[in-house]
């Protein structure tokens, strides 16, 4: 059935391609072409990333040298950085917006949006997404939500500042913190639009993967990238609506006098009328999205890394089916572990036990994935391209960040490290840095696909990787120590009372590493922008990869392939496959067999 559907698509698109004259507006702005939309996602995501990372630099300066004055505060923060002293409220705003931007705008939209859009049609052999119009709509909603989020930085009383988790009542009451006024309203509006955008996108990805695979592309022949984007989209559809409901209820509580989350509050000298609501309810709703969200962030990175590792190891990914099974297991478990963020919120301790159980179970599929990646390297012929370096870095930070999850997921141990810097160190390594590595790996690997053959400069890429790798560990490894020392997160300064004074030098070390790593990102920015225009044009299939996107035209055309869509005859990991008598590769002198090459006579047929 899907075959027929495809044939129809072909005709339709071929017609389509010839008759339309594209204007600047339809080509670059309101484009319905998945490749253009993917570039739009990437550039918007990176722009937001620059803001997010710049913010972290500002608050790292404050944390390292709380009594020093920095003119840079005054330049960027204006009235909140007068005389080079950072205002405590703007400190909270910075950590809040840093978290929001990095999690949602960079690592959700920037990573998943970019590569799902680029790779789903190209790797499954489709002319475009199932609905180009929805796809365009989804990008422009994302753009609108980014604009609103950035605008919220400029409101009079400051942007939202109750933490990226926006727990009410703090986020509901402007009396409690100035950022909960207009800033918070804009935050909520922006997120509501963002959710709409990501739902549209996710539905589109799901439909496309299910319906538009080319002939021969069975589910068990899909590259792991597609599997991870597909499952990510499903998690998104399951969990994002719950956040939307939480956001809507919070908007009601703030503006229309309802009491979903508020009860028994005395603030600024008066009792509020609200009665019967529960902040714990909000926490449940938030984390029902919030936890799957970290998998929405990390699964695409896992898919990208699996693909890049196999290609650059010149070996099939080890345990392809186990990799799929573990993606499915992680996706399923991710929706039933949200309570591990809430062990000490006053939630019933029995629930705490249940969530400890489910949470620690996630370690099993994660361990399988980690070992499978390591085995993929074993006896390979590793091509140290920048994307490969970032992929190896990903596995490293995923392991070291994931292991501390065993501490945090254990309710008894969580009591004393909950909300300390230990948590900050943990999730930055396991989802922040790892997902960023996934993003960078993807950019280095598919840059030439995105920008019509131009490649990123490899030496700048190497510099970027090593600076980032050293910086990331230098920042987040010592951070575990200040967490284990008992230092709570989101403290404007820890020198207001003497107990934590001895952490000052650790904070300085962390900030120095952070600044160092930020410089590395400037190298990347330069490389990225420069290569878009002046990058050297590489070969059509620079990494000698098997997947379909490298058979498509280098020059972007609507419909991806000039002639008919290639059919698929094998899985995507036939690297270094030998012929029957083990004398040479199946295709002599070429250590990879693209997916569109039919089964050869001198080749053993494997299950894929």
């Amino acid at each position: 059935m899907s075959e027929q559907a495809n044939d129809h698509e072909v005709d339709h698109h071929d017609d389509h391609g010839h008759h339309h004259k594209e204007t600047f507006i339809t080509k670059y702005v309101f484009s319905q072409d998945h490749k253009m939309i993917s570039r739009q996602y990437l550039i918007t995501g990176l722009f937001m990333g620059v803001i997010g990372i710049a913010m972290s630099m500002l608050f790292r300066l404050q944390l390292a040298w709380p009594d020093k004055q920095f003119t840079v505060y005054e330049i960027f923060l204006g009235k909140w950085g007068e005389d080079g002293v950072m205002d405590p409220n703007i400190y909270l705003a910075l950590v809040t917006i840093h978290g929001t931007i990095m999690v949602f705008f960079v690592l959700t939209a920037g990573l998943s949006g970019t590569f799902s859009n680029l790779l789903i049609p190209l790797q499954i052999g489709a002319r475009d997404m199932a609905s180009g119009f929805l796809n365009m709509l989804s990008y422009w909603l994302f753009f609108l939500s980014s604009v609103i989020m950035v605008l919220s930085l400029f409101v009079e009383a400051g942007p939202a500042s109750s933490g990226w988790t926006i727990y009410p009542p703090l986020s509901a009451l402007p009396q409690a913190i100035p950022g909960s006024g207009t800033g918070m309203t804009l935050w909520l509006v922006s997120m509501a639009i963002f959710i709409a955008s990501s739902l549209l996108a996710a539905l589109n990805y799901i439909v496309t993967v299910i319906n538009l695979r080319t002939k021969g592309m069975s589910m068990t022949r899909l590259p792991l990238t597609i599997w991870s984007f597909f499952i990510t989209a499903i998690i998104g559809v399951v969990s994002f609506p719950v956040l939307l409901s939480a956001v809507l209820m919070l908007i009601m509580d703030r503006s229309f006098g309802t009491s979903f989350f508020l009860s028994d509050i005395y603030i600024a000298g008066e009792v509020l009328h609200n009665q019967g609501g529960s902040p714990v309810l909000f926490e449940h709703l938030f984390w029902f999205l919030g936890h799957p969200e970290v998998y929405i962030v990390i699964l695409p990175a896992m898919g990208i890394v699996s693909e890049i590792m196999a290609t650059n190891s010149r070996k099939p990914i080890f345990g392809y089916r186990a990799m799929i099974a573990s993606i499915l297991a992680i996706a399923f478990l991710s929706t039933i572990v949200w309570g591990h963020h809430m062990f000490v919120t006053g939630m019933n301790p029995f629930l705490g036990s249940v969530f400890t159980f489910t949470t620690l179970l996630i370690a099993i599929p994660s361990a399988v994935k980690a070992f499978n990646w390591i085995t993929t390297l074993w006896k390979g012929n590793l091509q140290m391209n920048t994307a490969m370096l970032f992929s190896i870095g990903f596995v490293s930070t995923f392991i070291s960040g994931g292991l501390t999850g065993i501490i945090l997921g254990d309710s008894a141990l969580d009591i004393n490290v909950h909300d300390t810097y230990f948590v900050v160190a943990h999730f930055h390594l396991v989802m922040g840095i790892s997902a960023l590595y996934g993003l960078f790996a993807g950019i280095y690997h598919w840059f030439s696909k995105m920008f019509e053959g131009r490649m990123l400069n490899k030496n700048l890429g190497y510099v970027h990787f090593w600076i980032t790798a050293i910086g990331a560990y230098g920042v987040f490894f010592p951070m575990h120590f200040i967490g284990m020392a008992g230092l709570p997160r989101r403290y404007y300064t820890n020198t207001n009372f003497p107990y934590f004074d001895d952490l000052a030098d650790i904070n300085v070390v962390i900030t120095l590493f952070a600044l160092f790593a930020a410089v590395g990102q400037l190298v990347f920015m330069y490389n990225f922008i420069h290569s878009i225009f002046y990058g050297k044009k590489g070969p059509k299939n620079p990494w000698k990869s098997t997947t379909l996107e490298w058979t498509a035209k280098v020059k972007h055309i609507h419909g991806n392939w000039d002639g008919p869509i290639p059919h698929v005859h094998r899985w995507s990991y036939d690297y270094s496959k030998m012929n029957k008598d083990r004398s040479d590769y199946v295709i002599p002198g070429q250590d990879y067999i693209p997916q569109d090459i039919p089964l050869q006579e001198n080749e053993d047929e494997l299950q894929n």
């Binding site: 490293s396 490899k458 989101r490």
Partner: protein, 353 residues
């Protein structure tokens, strides 16, 4: 608004540059070039760097432990905390072994199998036995950890009043703490924020007979060896009562009462005698003396020497002064505690004044 306009101008400028570049780009011929793909030299160099990087991680680990072990929390001052520390130690040893081992494999393989021209990679797609092994090992290890963890957790959170704990309310508001002792009857009077009026800052129901002997203070005193049952309330936003030295934490939620119980097993005096704390205090005082010299140069008052005390910290973002919302905790012998509590005014007495 000016700032926003500046940003807008920068963006528009960027767009202009972009467009100009597109024009230049169109006038250039296409050529294919493999110089951006890793060469054999690159493979070799970065293989070695990968090996170097694993040593960087190990050295970082050693340096951090060597330099900063002293900042970690001292021995637990509560009974259940000892169990938590034990569980922590077991988990830590486990994750360190796993981490050091797997990271080694990762980077060593990256080094060992760095690409060499004409070398053949091994087509090795599957091995069910291997995969079974590394599924089952985590299953067994985690089963052990889960069971151990759950026993510990249930024991800590199984809060009952069988052993007659001392009942204390911790009351959080922006940006301070109050403690309310239940008094002679060891029963807290009813309270609600709607009853807050004048000196009755905690909204205690004055008509409740149980409330009469309640004692409200802003310094927490705990008798050694007696279980304390904390009832947490918040007046405005979420706060979290975090007592790191006692391995205790519970959020304070407006609209509900949360609870946590522990038994202190070390007085403040005893803790001050701990080697770990002596060293920590010595270092902090050294830093404070250095700071004082600087202050003196500016003609300001020097800092007082620091002495260790247990702390109750707010650990849930609660507003601008979140970072300074703390209360001193003093653990003392029962006799000292009885003397102290006898000096405090009951609610009935306070209200009469």
């Amino acid at each position: 608004m000016t700032a926003f306009l500046v940003v807008l101008v920068i963006i528009l400028f960027g767009v202009a540059v972009w467009q100009m570049n597109r024009i230049f780009q169109m006038s250039k011929p296409d050529r294919s070039d493999t110089s951006e793909i890793a060469s054999e030299k690159d493979n070799n160099l970065h293989g070695y760097l990968m090996l170097g990087f694993i040593f960087f991680i190990y050295i970082l680990l050693i340096v951090c432990f060597w330099k900063w072990s002293e900042v970690l929390l001292p021995v637990s001052a509560s009974e259940h905390g000892l169990e938590i520390d034990q569980l922590m130690l077991v988990s830590m040893i486990l994750i360190f072994i796993t981490g050091i081992f797997t990271e080694w494999l990762l980077f060593y393989f990256a080094f060992k199998y760095r690409g060499i021209k004409n070398k053949k990679a091994l087509f090795y797609a599957d091995n069910h036995k291997l995969e079974f092994i590394w599924t089952i090992i985590p299953v067994i290890v985690l089963a052990g950890l889960i069971i151990y963890g759950l026993f510990t957790w249930t024991e800590i959170m199984d809060i009952n009043t069988d052993d007659d704990p001392l009942v204390v309310e911790l009351y959080a508001y922006q940006f301070d703490w109050r403690a309310r002792y239940a008094g002679e009857d060891n029963t807290l009077g009813e309270a609600n924020v709607r009853l807050i009026e004048g000196v009755n800052q905690l909204g205690v129901d004055i008509s409740d007979p149980n409330a009469q002997d309640d004692i409200v203070v802003n310094e927490l005193h705990l008798p050694l060896g007696r279980k304390v049952l904390f009832k947490m309330r918040s007046q405005d936003v979420l706060h979290s009562a975090y007592m790191p030295h006692f391995r205790a934490q519970m959020n304070c939620v407006p609209g509900m009462v949360t609870q946590f119980a522990f038994t202190p097993i070390m007085t403040t005096q005893e803790m001050r005698q701990e080697d770990h704390i002596i060293n920590k205090v010595k270092k902090i005082n050294y830093l404070r003396r250095k700071e004082s010299i600087k202050l003196a140069a500016k003609g300001e008052e020097p800092l007082e020497p620091y002495e260790f005390d247990y702390l109750l910290l707010c650990n849930k973002i609660c507003g601008s002064n979140h970072y300074n919302m703390q209360m001193k905790i003093i653990v003392e012998t029962l006799e000292e505690y009885n003397v102290w509590i006898a000096q405090q005014a009951t609610l009935a007495e306070t209200l009469k004044k």
